[in-house]
Symmetry: C2
Subunit: 171 residues, 2 copies
DNA sequence: TTGAATGCAAAGGATTTGCAGAGGC
DNA sequence: GCCTCTGCAAATCCTTTGCATTCAA
C-alpha cells in the first residue's frame, strides 16, 4: 500500500470515466432524470483524476462564469449530492466542510490528514475491516460503512518545520 | 468493553466534576482568565453526565433565557472552545455539526454511529492504536490523534424496523 | 478600579431552496 | 410540448465577531 496511484484499481482515467458515465446514465434513466450538459461537465472533471476535493475546489477548476463549461454553484452542490446518491462519490466532513472522493470502482481505504497543510494521504489496512466486523457483532450493529482519519503532521511538513506557521499562511 | 458506563474511569460524576474543575481553574489561572458564573454553570452541566452533545443540545439543557443559570448562545460557543483548548472536551464533526464528548480522565475510544436514530455508541479496541502506529511509521507521519466512526443501524433500530422512517420522524 | 467576559445584534461561511426561464427527451 | 434542470437570489443552518455593558479579581 498506498499512495493515490498504488491504491487505484488499475484503470486509466479515460476508462474509469467511461464506466462511471455508464453507471451514472443508468442512475439517471432509472429515475427519469436528464443527462444534462452540466452533469456531464462535472462528471468529466471529477473523474479526470483521483484527487480529494470540496465544492469550492471543484468550482475553481471549472471554466469561469460566462465561459463554456461553467456550472453554477447551486448546481454543483445539487450534482455532488446526486453523485453520492449514485454511488460514484463518497462524502465526509473535514474542518466543517464536505470533502468528496471517488467511490465507484475505487478500493476502500482510510486517511491520514495533515493538520498543517491539509493534505489527505490514503492508506489501506484489512485489519480495520476485521475490527469493525467484530465490534459490530458485539453490539449487534448492522454496518454500512466506516471512516477512520488519523490526524497529525505529514512527512513534508515535518521537514519544513523551521517555522510553526502553515505553508498556506506563508504564501 | 464498552457501554458508556463500562468504559468510564470509575469516578462518580461528582468526583469527576471536582477534578475537572481543578484542571479548568488551573487553565484559567495560567492565562489570566476569569472564573465566571457562566463558565461554572456550563462545566457543571456538561460533567454531570457522560453524554455526547452539540451546542444546541447543551443550550436546551440550560435554564431558559431570563432564568438563573442561563448562558447565551455566543458564550456557550466560546466556552466550548475553551473546554476543548483546556483538554476537557474533545470535538468532532458529525452531519455538519460539532459534537462534543468528555476527554479529561476519559479513556480513548471510538464510535458506532446509528444513521437512523443518531445514537453514538462507544467502543474501545487497542488494535486501532497499533494500526495507526504502523501506518504512521510507514508514511513517516507524526500522529496527534485519530477518529474512527462506524456508521450503520443500531440494535434497537434494527428491531423497530417495521417502517423505514426514523423514530425521530414519527414523534 | 480595570481589563476580561457577557449578551446582543449582526456578520460569516457553507449549503440549500423557491421560482421563473432554459433545455432534454 | 412536457417536465426536469438550471441559475439567480434569497434563505437556512451553524458558528463567530464587534461592541457597549457587566462583573470578577
Amino acid at each position: 500500500m498506498a499512495t493515490d496511484s498504488d491504491i487505484s484499481g488499475g484503470l486509466t482515467p479515460a476508462e474509469m470515466s467511461r464506466s462511471v458515465g455508464q453507471r451514472f446514465d443508468d442512475y439517471l434513466q432509472s429515475r427519469g432524470m436528464r443527462n444534462t450538459q452540466q452533469r456531464r461537465n462535472l462528471l468529466d472533471l471529477i473523474f479526470s483524476d483521483h484527487e480529494h476535493f470540496d465544492a469550492d475546489q471543484l468550482l475553481d477548476k471549472l471554466p469561469a462564469k460566462g465561459l463554456a463549461g461553467h456550472v453554477s454553484r447551486p448546481t454543483v452542490y445539487r450534482t455532488l449530492n446526486e453523485f453520492v446518491d449514485a454511488g460514484l462519490l463518497r462524502k465526509f466532513e473535514l474542518e466543517g466542510r464536505s470533502v468528496y472522493e471517488h467511490d465507484y470502482g475505487y478500493p476502500e481505504h482510510d486517511h491520514l490528514y495533515c493538520s498543517q497543510c491539509s493534505k489527505l494521504i490514503e492508506f489501506q489496512d484489512d485489519r480495520l475491516i476485521e475490527i469493525r466486523k467484530q465490534v459490530a457483532a458485539k453490539y449487534n450493529f448492522q454496518v454500512r460503512s466506516h471512516r477512520m482519519i488519523i490526524t497529525g503532521v505529514c512527512e513534508e511538513c515535518r521537514k519544513n518545520r523551521r517555522r510553526k506557521r502553515r505553508p498556506v499562511d506563508l504564501i
